[in-house]
């Protein structure tokens, strides 16, 4: 579930800031609970770290997750 880039960062012993650590935890949990599509995990992580997730972004993320869930149910 972990963001590949973050995993790579860990392998290279790149130290995450407190904000990055928290963003990573949040994104991982959102993905694990099906609240965020894995494909959007990375961009969500960076947007969280930079404080750039606005109302419309959250709405779009939730809609995409719902859409994905609906498509999954239809299969």
């Amino acid at each position: 579930m972990e963001n590949p880039e973050l995993a790579a960062g860990k392998r290279h012993n790149i130290q995450l800031t407190a904000e990055e650590k928290l963003a990573n935890t949040i994104v991982n949990r959102l993905v694990a609970q099906g609240l965020l599509p894995q494909a959007l995990a990375e961009q969500t992580f960076y947007a969280l770290c930079e404080g750039k997730l606005r109302e419309a972004d959250w709405r779009l993320l939730a809609e995409k997750a719902l859409d994905k869930a609906a498509r999954g149910n239809n299969r």
Binding site: L22, I26, L35
Partner: protein, 757 residues
């Protein structure tokens, strides 16, 4: 991040440029200065360049930060601050709104002032949270969380709106249903069934009725116009008859009416033939001008007849016109009636079934009787159209509302799912963020408690503890134990306890940031000697975890503690009185030992100064030893002792066992017995009294060499007792085997640990 240089100009009290050079090998810098010497200006300059803040001005009311940050003699554009850390330089100037530092990755600085302490320890939970928010919160993620909270609320509102709109549509349907007398037992069933009914027949009926109604109105209008045209024609006939009668009456009076006609003809001829020279009637030769004059004269006489003749002609024309209008209107009327007749015969309707419809080519009066009967039916036709239209409109409204209800039901389900999803996301983000902040707070709390207990060991007031108040956003409680109970520290702590608690909080926060510059701006004014010593120990021990600790103080005790190597290895900077001409003045302050060494090595010996300084240093060294070994001294108030008293307090047995071990950087241990060094000093201690302390005739008998020797003996003892590395006297007995120098150095050991029995 160790500070090497700090330069500032036209900043606060710096009316002249100031440059401070720090000894970057030392983790602590002590800046001593009496009140008003510029200590806070230095702290503010660091805050300005490192944190882009207005320093102490941020905490004061009634000041204009942007104006008052500038020195009294300067302009905003003159202000500049520069800092050099680890070989890298940053510069700051006053921007439009706030300080601007270039490059923008300035070292982080924690600047603690007394006002901050009050905010942390004595303010409300909310204000405490705000004060510490920068340190404990994750601003970017909190900003994203706030956006998530807003969108979750917005979607909830959308759900509510959709539900309200659906409810309104259902209420409308219900009202229709009630008006209809509650058929089918359920308004939705009724509405769905009604909306399925075909309206084609009803719409066709409306169409037919509307066409008939419109055509009937048209015929009636045309009939009205025909009436008016007949009336106007009859009036024209009457007027013509009247004119004829008037002409006949006039002709009875004017018998020569025939002449009138002849004259008018003659005038017309003469006007048309101006060259004629004969009378057109009798052919008698006559000039044209006299002929026309004669004709005009005769005609004037016959004017009345002429007027009547014109009136007659005019009325004849009017009659002809009225008859034309009437014939035209009659044509319209018959056409309209023909169309109506066609409608009634091709699609008869029940409302007109009882009417006897006259044929199209019958006389006007018969047709008018038919029209009169039809006109009486008009209101009924109109009412039937309106009733049918109402039913069709209601049917359309039912369909529209049912469509709205179905659509909103679908939208509501979608939006409810979205709202639930956003709520789950928000709960998750909030929970993680709160846990993160709580972890940070817990960590700080543990560090604060540890530091506080090191300053106040074995005291009943202790164990300060931070906690996020989860019931309120942005609320941070601070409590401590008092015996068996918990309460806010402000309730029971003394001012000194609150000061040290605030210090511990800031040091704990600074520790979170690792390599930060920590500035303590004259914060410890209320603590007593023993607590100050433990605070110094704490700062010594914590200093390696920070980039640089800069302490400003006006307490001379602290300055002396450093100068005489009694507990703190620090770079010393002393500020002198500030004035309007030079602004701030400062110099590096040498340790007392270095001061004396410089004075002794000067070719021209200042005898009094050297003897006095050596005596003070020796007193301080012996004071340390007698204190460490609890040597017996006579009780005094205040407890100040002469050199003689101090030297005789050290017993012979202790003197024989006193030794130091100095450890080189390669680990080699050099052992130095102290007895010969102490004896050499104390044997010459009288020189201090003779030369350095009092007026004495015998002073003249003492040579410069004797004075120099006394000082050098004292320096030898100081060099033995002070660590080569940290320049501290042994003060730490935590090993349980010996005394050692402070902090993490431990390169000097003093034996024995205790006075021999």
């Amino acid at each position: 991040m160790r500070v090497e240089k700090l330069r500032f100009t036209h900043f606060r009290g710096a009316i002249q440029p100031v440059e401070l050079t720090f000894d970057h090998r030392k983790p602590i810098t002590l800046i001593f200065g009496e009140n008003g010497s510029g200590k806070s200006t230095i702290a503010d300059a660091i805050d300005f360049i490192c944190n882009q803040k207005f320093g102490s001005l941020e905490l004061r009311r009634g000041v204009r930060k942007k104006d008052h940050i500038v020195a009294a003699n300067g302009r905003s554009s003159d202000l500049s601050v520069e800092i050099v850390c680890n070989g890298e330089t940053w510069r700051a100037y006053l921007g439009k709104q706030k300080p601007v530092t270039t490059p923008d990755n300035a070292p982080k600085a924690f600047v603690l002032r007394r006002a901050n302490i009050t905010k942390v320890t004595e303010e409300t939970d909310g204000e405490r949270y705000q004060t510490l928010a920068d340190f404990i919160t994750v601003a970017n993620i909190e900003s994203c969380e706030a956006e998530l909270r807003k969108v979750a609320a917005a979607v909830n509102k959308e759900v509510d709106n959709a539900i309200q709109q659906k409810l309104a549509a259902e209420t409308t349907l219900q009202n229709f249903w009630v008006e209809e007398g509650r058929p089918n037992g359920n308004y939705m069933n009724w509405a769905r069934q009604s909306s399925q009914q075909a309206m084609t027949a009803l719409e066709a009926q409306i169409e037919a009725d509307t066409v008939l109604h419109r055509q009937l109105e048209q015929v009636l209008n045309d009939d009205h116009s025909l009436h008016r045209a007949a009336q106007q024609r009859d009036e024209a006939v009457a007027m013509l008859e009247k004119a004829r009668q008037e002409m006949a009456d006039a002709l009875q009076v004017q018998t020569n009416a025939a002449t009138l006609s002849t004259l008018r003809e003659a005038r017309r001829y003469l006007q048309a033939n101006p060259d004629s020279t004969v009378c057109p009637v009798c052919a008698k030769p006559e000039p044209h001008s006299s002929l026309l004059a004669h004709v005009e004269t005769a005609l004037a006489r016959l004017q009345t007849l002429l007027t009547l003749q014109e009136q007659l002609e005019s009325r004849q024309k009017a009659l002809t016109a009225a008859e034309g209008v009437y014939d035209n209107q009659l044509g319209h009327w018959r056409n309209s009636y023909r169309a109506l007749h066609h409608l009634l015969s091709s699609a008869p309707i029940s409302l007109t079934a009882s009417v006897q419809i006259a044929p199209v080519d019958t006389d006007i009066a018969t047709i008018r009787r038919t029209l009169a009967q039809l006109e009486s039916k008009l209101p009924a036709v109109k009412a039937r159209i309106e009733a049918a239209e109402k039913r069709v409109n209601q049917h359309n409204a039912l369909k529209t509302h049912l469509h709205t209800i179905d659509e909103l039901a679908e939208v509501t389900v979608e939006k409810q799912a979205l709202a639930q999803r956003l709520r789950q996301m928000h709960d998750l983000v909030k929970e993680e963020r709160q846990q993160h902040v709580q972890r940070v707070v817990d960590s700080i709390s543990a560090t604060v408690a540890d530091m506080y207990n090191r300053i106040h060991p074995d005291e009943p007031l202790g164990n300060p503890n931070f906690n996020l108040n989860t019931r309120y956003a942005g609320s941070l409680t601070l409590s401590a134990t008092f015996g068996n109970r918990q309460a806010p520290p402000g309730a029971y702590y003394s001012e000194a306890h609150l000061d040290t608690l605030g210090l511990c909080v800031y040091l704990a926060l600074a520790r979170q940031s690792g390599n930060a510059i920590v500035v303590l701006d004259d914060v410890l004014t209320s603590v007593d000697g023993p607590h100050l010593r433990r605070i110094v120990d704490l700062i010594n021990e914590e200093a390696p975890t920070f980039g640089h600790v800069i302490v400003t103080t006006h307490q001379r005790a602290w300055l002396n503690m450093v100068r005489y190597g009694k507990g703190m290895e620090a770079d010393l900077i002393e500020l002198y009185g500030w004035n309007m001409t030079n602004g701030m003045s400062h110099s590096r302050t040498p340790l007392a030992v270095e001061s004396l060494r410089t004075a002794v090595s000067t070719p021209h010996l200042d005898r009094q100064k050297v003897a006095s300084a050596a005596g003070v240093l020796l007193e301080q060294l012996l004071d340390t030893l007698t204190w460490r070994y609890a040597c017996s001294l006579p009780r005094k108030n205040p407890p100040s002792y002469t050199l003689g008293e101090l030297s005789s307090a050290i017993s012979g047995k202790l003197l024989s066992t006193l030794r130091v071990e100095q450890i080189d950087s390669d680990g080699t241990i050099h052992e130095i017995p102290l007895k010969p060094l102490i004896e050499a000093c104390t044997q010459g201690s009288w020189i201090r009294n003779q030369v350095g302390a009092h007026f004495n005739i015998d002073e003249a008998t003492i040579s410069d060499n004797d004075v120099r020797q006394f000082a050098q003996n004292t320096l030898a003892l100081a060099d033995a007792l002070q660590c080569d590395h940290c320049r501290q006297l042994p003060a730490n007995n935590k090993t349980g085997e010996h005394w050692s120098c402070g902090g993490t150095c431990k390169k000097l050991r003093l034996h024995p640990l205790q006075k021999p029995a």
